[in-house]
Symmetry: C2
DNA sequence: CGCGATTTTGACGGTCCTCAACTTTTGTGG
DNA sequence: CCACAAAAGTTGAGGACCGTCAAAATCGCG
């Protein structure tokens, strides 16, 4: 069960060295390993990954920066006992291995077929242009992560699912040609299992919530990961779950503790 | 449904080019200063705040950057219905209003007596030194936020409390002069209410978890917010899955889905 | 001391996790 | 192309964790 290269999703290569980006050919592999620091030709190169392949791994030394050219990549952290959290889902133009630390603190795993530009740290450190892009990316990520923290800390399962779908639908690439008309149609990057690991839920809960939305005729799913938003406005009601019809612009002075909502749930 | 005025956490403003460091623009600088009700002298100025005072507020335009000189500040986001999440607790040396966006997406509130250096955006944008510090700060924050996401998504109440105390004890300023001997002694910056808003729990749960640790003789509390860690090693058992920095050993291949822990709880 | 804010404690219930069995989809080989 | 197996998703029953509500206790401050 631990043999094949790409069969099992959770079945990753046994040795750390094997987890390094798979080179395009054996010669390149040898060269990379031998001359990592010196070989100019490996300073910038294109690499390909298949779904489920690891681009880099948590706690590996961080020798390269990657720019996604094509495809989708998930950034994950695993706790010692196997629980996982997907921190971000990145696409073309995004940079990987951004936090300029010595060791990767996340693993990057290809979701679809992926092409990345691999850039040696030395090149990155010398390029102001790249660093500027990295800063911009960092900030974009930063805002997303803040939102994620609020979701995980203060939203219930329904709200998390609904707002994830809304977010993806709004920002995402629609499959059809009429992205403004309500039946928004798009492809989910994540499986339900991954969605659970992204939203801090279990796969069963994700499944049940999606079923609920389907029964309400708010979404429709064709095939494994194709989703249509039939009723965006009702979906956003599920997403922000405001109890009293928000009259005021209530981002002002916080209400007294006794009056405001606490905790997570609300229905 | 969703009013345009309310700042919606799932609806972040795009990142315009203005987010990138902007060359010093004399006209812009003069305009900024003119618009500032505190006149010329406020391009860089020292300000003081008392506990609970707001330094800036969610959805306000972001005209200044603040550097904390003294005291502690919490960064919070409020949902429309009043639920809150404390995103970070910052101290001397830290910068506020970092994400260089047009509008603050968080509120900054003084916890203790606070002194900050208020720096006009124009000054900030012209200072490479400041920008460099901002980038460093951003990265530090980034890693903390990643850890926070894992905590909120995948840890139960006990683990969150325990690892918060551990983290604070390790990084924090100890009150006593022997920071290496087990009875670690320090002051909690957050009230239990705020702790709840930071860890995605309710204040009752926080109280119960702290009581549990007290009964186990793992911590001791003298006064409102003074805490002593009596038994760090048992505390870290409660925190259990400590995050990436150490524990480099067990970051190898994840176990198969059927075997690994799912969801949040574990006891 | 007296008052308000904060914390503690208890009882109860809901959300979501756990376990388990089943169904559907996907992928592979004969 | 179908059979088969593995992966992914669905559904149900039950219970744990933690949120909710309520009231009492404690702390801190004038």
């Amino acid at each position: 069960m631990t043999t094949s290269l790409r069969s099992n999703p959770t079945d990753l290569p046994p040795l750390p060295s094997a987890c390094l980006p798979r080179p395009l050919d054996a010669v390149a592999a040898i060269r990379d390993v031998a001359n990592d620091r010196f070989s100019m030709r490996s300073a910038v190169s294109i690499r390909r990954y298949e779904p489920r392949q690891m681009i880099f791994e948590q706690s590996q030394p961080c020798r390269h920066i990657f720019e996604i050219i094509e495809g989708t990549v998930k950034l994950t952290i695993a706790l010692p006992d196997g629980r996982r959290q997907i921190l971000a889902v990145l696409g073309p133009g995004d940079l990987l291995g951004l936090p300029l630390v010595q060791q990767h603190n996340t693993s990057a795993i290809a979701i679809s077929d992926v092409r990345v530009k691999q850039i040696a740290r030395s090149v990155f450190d010398a390029s102001l242009l790249l660093q500027r892009r990295a800063a911009a990316q960092l900030q974009k990520q930063f805002l997303k992560m803040q939102d994620m923290i609020v979701s995980l800390g203060r939203r219930n399962a329904t709200e998390r699912i609904a707002s994830y779908i809304l977010e993806t639908a709004k920002s995402g690439n629609h499959d059809d040609a009429t992205p403004n008309q309500p039946p928004w149609s798009f492809t989910l990057a994540l499986s339900q299992t991954d969605l659970a690991d992204h939203l801090g839920l279990t796969l069963e809960t994700v499944s049940r919530e999606l079923t609920k939305l389907k029964n309400h005729k708010i979404i429709r799913m064709c095939g494994r990961n194709h989703l249509e938003v039939l009723d965006p406005s009702r979906l956003s009601e599920f997403a922000d779950n405001v109890s009293y019809p928000q009259a005021a612009v209530n981002c002002e002075a916080p209400e007294p503790v006794s009056a405001r909502r606490r905790g997570r749930a609300a229905r």
